[in-house]
């Protein structure tokens, strides 16, 4: 998280905006740091650093 911010990939206000815009069913079902995780994924996809497919593929490979 600190590294992502230090590298200028996103700032804390973008994180807040993204957490606020999580769908209610995701927001309500997950705890504080899980929401961070969703938010980091969404921002990295929004900014074109990663694609949803790259994340899915990597998770599948590690599973």
């Amino acid at each position: 998280m600190a590294l992502l911010r230090a590298r200028g990939l996103f700032n804390v206000d973008e994180m807040r905006r993204t957490i606020e815009s999580l769908p209610p069913e995701i927001y309500g079902r997950h705890d504080y740091y899980e929401r961070w995780l969703y938010t980091i994924e969404r921002l990295l996809i929004e900014k074109g650093v990663l694609t949803a497919r790259e994340i899915e593929d990597r998770l599948a490979a590690d599973g």
Binding site: F10, N11, D13, E14, R16, R17, E20, K47
Partner: protein, 96 residues
């Protein structure tokens, strides 16, 4: 950096701007009248930083104090108040 528009003691009303996206002023305080307590400083605008902009030029942030009776209908303890940090673009002058 621009001069702050409000001085300590000034009466202000919170603007009732359309609710759209990431905002730093809570809904319950919109349209309410308070008084500038102090200037907290100038900060990059977080409502723009939230969308990847640089938030510049920095905007004045004030500590604004509101009587609780201004916020909650029927509140009868006259001495109680609530202080909030509010950015200048959310404030307009109010009659005293």
């Amino acid at each position: 950096m621009a001069e702050p528009a409000f001085k300590p003691g000034a009466a202000v009303r919170v603007r009732d701007l359309p609710v759209k996206g990431h905002m730093r002023t809570p809904g319950y305080i919109r349209g309410r009248k308070g008084r500038i307590e102090t200037l907290q400083g100038f900060f990059p605008n977080p409502e723009r930083l939230a969308y990847g902009a640089d938030g510049l030029p920095p905007v004045p942030l004030y500590l604004v104090r509101f009587p609780q009776s201004e916020i909650w209908p029927g509140y009868d303890s006259a001495g109680d108040s609530l202080a909030l940090d509010i950015f200048e673009h959310w404030l307009e002058p109010a009659e005293t």
